[in-house]
């Protein structure tokens, strides 16, 4: 199998690294070769962050080549737009509706693009997800990243749900309440994606 390539874009503190580790561990359980690369350090202070996850029979580069990414997860509505260059034809774009204006927007120097959904749609199949609202329903807005994984799980068939669930449990090992909330969040994301699919 040629590599499955996933980019997760967001703002520092949104759970980017946790999300990429959960995907990576799930892929490892299924026997795939896995590489993840992530942002640490300075950029974590509220700046743009991203991680790249790749799995398949054999993965060389931890960086995804531009034009080879099949799944883009944007944990904030704007952030994914920085990575569209990396997308392959027919890619899936899973974009949270959450808005976190950067400083330049707050003071009116910059603006979010008017037609964000339209722009995303040019690059592949777009799924807009009210991730924060769904996470809040699941028990904590901090689980928005896991809602997004639920959507990914529906769209990518290469990881089965046992592996996803096991990976989430391991990630939050020993924290029963957190596991429960995150499994709820995962389920709500999965259902949201499947309902949207049927609605199409």
């Amino acid at each position: 199998m040629s590599a499955t390539n996933i980019i997760i874009a967001g703002v520092g503190g949104q759970g980017n690294i946790a999300a990429s580790k959960i995907i990576g561990e799930a892929a490892l359980m299924l026997g795939y070769d896995v590489k993840i690369t992530e942002t640490h350090g300075m950029a974590q202070r509220g700046g743009s962050v991203h991680s790249m996850v790749r799995f398949g029979d054999k993965v060389f580069s931890p960086l995804i080549p531009k034009g080879a990414c099949q799944y883009l997860l944007s944990l904030e509505i704007l952030e994914g737009l920085r990575w569209v260059e990396y997308l392959k034809d027919g890619a899936f774009l899973i974009v949270s509706t959450e808005i976190r204006p950067p400083y330049s927007v707050s003071v009116g120097k910059d603006h979010y693009p008017q037609n964000i959904e339209e722009i995303y749609s040019k690059y592949g199949q777009l799924l807009m997800v009210p991730a924060k609202e769904l996470a809040s329903k699941a028990g904590s807005t901090r689980s928005a990243n896991i809602v997004m994984l639920g959507c990914l799980a529906y769209l990518t068939k290469s990881i089965n749900s046992e592996a996803w669930i096991e990976s989430i449990k391991r990630r939050f090992y020993g924290k029963e309440k957190v596991i429960e909330i995150n499994l709820n969040a995962f389920q709500l994301g999965y259902e949201f994606a499947s309902n949207s699919d049927r609605g199409r």
Partner: protein, 595 residues
């Protein structure tokens, strides 16, 4: 379902730590610095080890050398610029050699992800004649540290394992098929001719060092980490570190000479590889070091004329280089199998910012108001260079601000009595600010030093340091007293403030500016990520708000204007109250509710 076997998904830095433990290292020291920090943090968790944060890299390297002489296998970790600080003991330690294995793991940062420069540590290794490994992924990070610890004893020299951001901060699979090595007892024997580097002894050691270097060349020729993979004969790629994986991704069918042990280079192996291929391309991260050396063997190679010299390599850049090289020099064409899509341009940038409730913000807010010239330093607080605080004039390296302020004030003293300010974080002050303070006291400076004491090394992820009273192993220890230290180093005026109290902060800073001589102000407020003290959050009364934007001038990410309204995000606010203080219309109020 396939069976994964005994593989673990490890961050490069976790793999370095695992390698150190499996290779029998039982002492580790270093100073935090992205992308190296997690190595020592992970190492500290293994049974039977002692791991310590040193005040700076020089202290760390010296301690590591000492532990090696005493017979304990040791690792010492730092980021690339840390090796500037540790260079002095590092270079001469290669003359003395080791007793038990000693490995320096140094992490470079091509691409400036979290650094002030892009220096290539492999230059230092050449300066010092220290052998170098360059792992390409987590598996090699593990295996090479083990090998380096063994070889360090065998060849009686410290080894360098050079990482880069993409190796340290990528995760990949690691398989371990042996038990951790038990540390061997290697008693210290007194040997001044080996360990006391006075000129007469050092001269002899230099001769030995060169002999050892010849032996290492032999090792390099047969090292399991240097190997050939045959593919097309019209192009051969010589590559080290993660760049190898980029090249493999770009053109898996080329012939490869993968170099994992890169100093000294395996000249014979390179010659024989070169003789079998028509075009030779060197793909390496950062400076053209292998390329230049291979060319000096009289071998015709291509390299940086096809690859970017600034920033980090990518599979895209390597693919482009191969494609261009083949187009120019041969008839074979090569098709890059990915096509980038067109980017979306002019998106609003999202630079990192000081966190909501960060005490540094308030201090810089006041400094800006006082229009001070501020010689800066490195840490979270360097973010104050960005608007709206825009209150930093310089940032060069750790500890530089105090020295720069001193020199600046000396240069203008005949014509101006402006008091130049230096700001420095608590960890940075301990790292390399103290000697600057002594200089200022000794040479009778007229400066204001502000120590931003947030009780931790925040920027690299909250490591303890000598000012915090805690060790890396989580034990309590003595706590460095900044105020008393300032006094004994020659400060004339010493005060402590809590930057959450903006009024008092302004008063004290004005006083400190007016005082003659060296003023030291300790601005003490624990990092809000580390220790949040206030509960509840602030909110804006939209009827009272005149939309004047004064609160936005704090640059707090919890406050934003969206759809023509200023709002405070209750999720992000940490109730520091700075916005309420600056609001002249009493439109900002606290909500006590505990979330």
């Amino acid at each position: 379902m396939r069976f994964p076997g005994n593989k673990k998904l490890l961050l490069g830095n976790e793999a370095f730590a695992l390698g150190a433990f499996y290779g029998g290292a039982r002492y580790g020291t270093g100073y935090p610095g992205t992308p190296s920090t997690e190595i020592l943090e992970n190492f500290s968790k293994y049974p039977g080890v002692l791991a310590e944060w040193a005040p700076n890299e020089k202290c760390a390297f010296e301690a590591a050398h000492g532990a090696s002489l005493a017979g304990t296998r040791t690792i010492v970790t730092m980021k690339h610029v840390g090796l500037n600080v540790a260079a002095d003991p590092f270079v001469t330690s290669v003359y003395s050699g080791v007793n038990a294995g000693l490995v320096l793991i140094v992490a470079d940062d091509p691409g400036f992800h979290s650094s002030q420069n892009e220096q290539d540590s492999r230059h230092y290794a050449r300066l010092a004649y220290a052998p170098v490994f360059e792992p390409a992924d987590s598996q090699e990070a593990f295996s090479m540290v083990v090998e380096a610890l063994n070889l360090s004893e065998k060849y009686d020299t410290p080894f360098v394992v050079r990482s880069t951001t993409r190796v340290s901060h990528s995760s990949s699979l690691v398989e371990v098929d042996f038990e951790p090595m038990e540390p061997e007892n290697r008693p210290y024997t007194k040997n001044p001719e080996k360990y006391v580097m006075v000129p007469s002894y050092a001269r002899k050691r230099k001769e030995l060092l060169l002999k050892r270097f010849e032996a290492l060349k032999e090792y390099s020729e047969k090292s399991p980490f240097n190997s050939v993979e045959w593919g097309h004969s019209y192009i051969g790629i010589i590559s080290s570190g993660v760049a190898y994986h980029y090249a493999k991704e770009a053109f898996p069918d080329a012939s490869f000479l993968k170099l994992g042990f890169t100093y000294p280079l395996p000249e014979k192996l390179i010659r024989s590889f070169a003789s079998e291929v028509e075009l030779l391309l060197v793909v390496e991260e950062s400076d053209p070091i292998l390329e230049t050396e291979i060319r000096s063997f009289g071998i015709n190679v291509f390299g940086k004329e096809y690859l970017p010299e600034v920033g980090e390599l990518t599979p895209d850049a390597v693919a482009q280089a191969i494609s261009n090289l083949l187009k120019e020099k041969r008839t074979n064409t090569y098709h890059i199998s990915w096509m980038p899509k067109s980017p979306v341009n002019d998106l609003p940038a999202r630079a990192p910012v000081l966190c909501p409730g960060c005490g540094h913000r308030n201090l810089f807010f006041v400094l800006k108001k006082l229009r001070a010239k501020v010689m800066g330093d490195i840490g979270c607080y360097t973010l104050a260079v960005n608007p709206p605080l825009s209150s930093m004039d310089t940032c060069t390296c750790m500890g530089a601000g105090i020295g720069e302020a001193h020199g600046f004030s000396k240069a203008i003293q005949k014509t101006s009595d402006e008091k130049i300010a230096a700001v420095i974080g608590d960890s940075t002050f301990v790292h390399s600010g103290i000697t600057g303070l002594i200089n200022a006291g000794y040479n009778r400076s007229n400066i204001l030093i502000i120590i931003l004491d947030n009780r931790t090394t925040a920027m690299t992820g909250h490591q303890p340091h000598p000012g915090t009273g805690k060790t890396l192993m989580g034990e309590n220890t003595f706590e460095l007293d900044f105020e008393n230290l300032a006094k004994v180093c020659g400060a004339d005026y010493v005060r402590t403030v809590d930057p959450y109290d903006l009024k008092e902060t302004e008063k004290v800073l004005k006083e400190a500016q007016a005082a003659k001589g060296v003023s030291v102000v300790v601005a003490r407020r624990p990092c809000v990520l580390y220790q949040r003290t206030e509960e509840g959050y602030y909110s804006i009364d939209l009827d009272a708000c005149t939309d004047c934007g004064a609160c936005l001038l704090l640059g707090c990410p919890a406050i934003s204007r969206f759809d023509e309204k200023i709002i405070i995000s209750s999720d992000l606010c940490t109730a520091c109250g700075a916005c309420a203080f600056v609001c002249r219309f009493d439109a900002i109020f606290k909500i006590e509710e505990v979330k």
